[in-house]
Symmetry: C2
Subunit: 381 residues, 2 copies
């Protein structure tokens, strides 16, 4: 069984059956999570953090796991989400492969990994499974729900499912529904994985891993996560000598950068889990019932998004996006801001001039740090 | 031998050896071309048209071949490049597979297709091979050199190689040098072709064609040729029923659109030829000597581009680009306009608000037609 659990992650096991929105059921499930900081007396300082597609629950370093987390510069003592004040709970998404149950987990009915037999996952399933963990932790209300990228979709789904349970939202580079351009890119990544001869309709083995497919999918990911502006300044027309030249290229520094990034990713993520999570993002539309099959529809307008989020009753929402994001374009952040405003929440909308595209929130601390820091400092909890 | 020659294309054969910039030589070569309209008495009305990566010489319909050409709406009688007035010569690029010699042609030394043994092609080779055809046609001077996309790079290379031979330039969505973002996308397309098990290091056969690689490369191409804005309005979240759903997706209309586009392309282009032409674009930098191996370098600034183009002595240049082009971003068109202005050419710079990205010149007649029409009407030849 493929698993890649950070050493500091706790595993919560729920023995209740878990039913998926589109059908299918797990007899039990596990969720990997990490917590940082302490809950205060009335448990009013909880920050619930949903992750993007690939990260684990290890959002920042801790005494249990001193290795840097995926948002090390934002979460921690004295950082913008200050764990001296906030009790941060970060969950590895249902369907992922970093400690939570997903396609890489063992199907008790067959004693083999679920792979393609795993129920069709939706963003709404990730959101609702989290409540099992919150119940286990004795957490009822959430001060701030936080989600970047896919985590932002999960945050929206959770808020819709749990009206009135959260006070504030920080949503970054996310969307109320997947747009066709993002669907095109993700669909291509998934198709490339499935074209790898080692994919074997999901019956890949450790010895014959679809690593070419995963490498190529990750490279497409990098092209969609970053921006032309960033790479222009960073790589120019520099050559590379790290890898041998090939018939297809590997002459330029940008090519070796993609290669190195992709090689780091290959062994870190289970292919079937990747496909399930990626597909869940395509299906996501906060204005629709996830249990229904897709219906042809326009992208939701702001009024429909506001109507879907009307029950959330947030005190405030902080929405951040960047112009250079190809995957979750800025107008989708503007739509979320407008929708929450229509829901009478106090809304902050920020569009920092980050050049790093969709990944900006991970790497552009100079722009993101102060915005997040100030938002959290001003919260009344 | 793979070949895909439009029925109206003429084949010119040169029996002189042709030496490539980076080494290697052809004992003879063929170039497929089509001409439209008639040369006038002093042959001062010649338009030399270089194509993008994939088109053949069949730019527009004719009595020889009434099927629509790849730029049907722009070239022809009464069209913006009016063949009642202009004598248009369009060449299938050296290295392509639509009648001109390239990796799909037979290597006389082995009686097999050249494939990876074809000399390393540069944009400058495409440009210089064209002079053999012009000599054959008795054409000395060119009124207007025209090139969109890769054809624009070829036009720049030809102008640099032939100082004073052309009077005017129409360059569309092209660049003085490839940027790292475009290199990343093209490199990925080539890598995907070479990862197809049928690629066989270039020894693919008709029965075992790397069609999965070509299909996926074309899909990546479409994502880089079009724009998120266009697809938002065109596809929204429409579903599709044209193809069966798969483990990786094929739920949405955008996915079936990509599939249909890619299927049309697979059998139309030879994989090794695609790789050679695509790589030539990465290598292109008008400010560098193409015979030298790559050197790490910044992208050229406008002064260096102007210096490289100083000898062209164009009377005028019309440069068009669009904001939604990911592959040849607008600032690269601005740089060309600035460089020709520094060379004392009269320069027109147009940035129409087309939503169709890099492909706009092929499909957005409403924006491109009037600009090109007016430019050609005002020329003093």
């Amino acid at each position: 069984m493929f698993s890649n659990i950070p050493s500091g992650s706790e595993i919560f096991t729920s023995d209740k059956p878990f039913a998926f929105q589109r059908g299918g059921c797990l007899p039990s499930l596990q969720l990997a999570y990490e917590t940082f900081g302490q809950p205060n007396a009335d448990c009013s300082n909880v920050v619930l953090l949903f992750t993007g597609l690939s990260p684990a629950a290890h959002v920042t370093s801790s005494s249990k796991d001193p290795s840097p987390g995926w948002w090390e510069s934002i979460v921690g003592i004295g950082r913008p989400i200050d764990t001296n004040h906030w009790h941060v709970v970060c969950v590895n998404s249902l369907g992922s492969c970093k400690g939570s149950t997903g396609p890489a987990s063992i199907n008790p009915a067959t004693d083999k990994p679920w792979r393609l037999d795993f129920p069709e996952l939706t963003i709404e399933d990730i959101a609702s499974s989290t409540n099992l963990l919150l119940e286990h932790l004795g957490i009822k209300n959430i001060a701030v729900v936080v989600g970047p990228s896919m985590g932002g979709m999960t945050a929206l789904a959770w808020l819709k499912q749990n009206p009135g349970r959260a006070s504030h939202l920080l949503a970054i580079s996310t969307a109320a529904a997947a747009e066709p351009y993002a669907i095109a890119i993700r669909s291509l990544q998934r198709e490339i994985i499935c074209e790898d001869p080692h994919w074997q309709n999901g019956a890949y083995t450790e010895a014959r891993w679809p690593q070419n497919g995963m490498r190529l999918a990750r490279k497409i990911g990098m092209v969609s996560y970053r921006s032309s502006e960033e790479w222009r300044g960073r790589f120019g027309r520099d050559n590379q000598v790290r890898y041998p030249a090939t018939a297809w290229g590997m002459n330029f520094a940008i090519e070796s950068y993609l290669q190195a990034s992709a090689e780091r990713f290959i062994g870190q993520f289970d292919p079937a889990s990747y496909i399930g999570l990626s597909r869940a993002m395509d299906w996501f539309d906060i204005t629709r019932d996830p249990s229904k099959l897709c219906h042809s529809t326009d992208l939701p307008d702001t009024a429909r998004v506001a109507s879907a989020l009307a029950g959330t009753e947030l005190k405030s929402a902080c929405i951040i996006g960047v112009q250079s994001d190809l995957l979750f374009p800025l107008h989708q952040q503007q739509q979320l801001a407008d929708a929450f405003e229509a829901c009478h929440s106090r809304v902050e909308f920020h569009a920092p001039s980050s050049l790093q595209g969709h990944d900006s929130f991970l790497v552009d601390f100079d722009n993101f740090g102060p915005i997040i820091s100030q938002y959290f400092r001003n919260l009344d909890c």
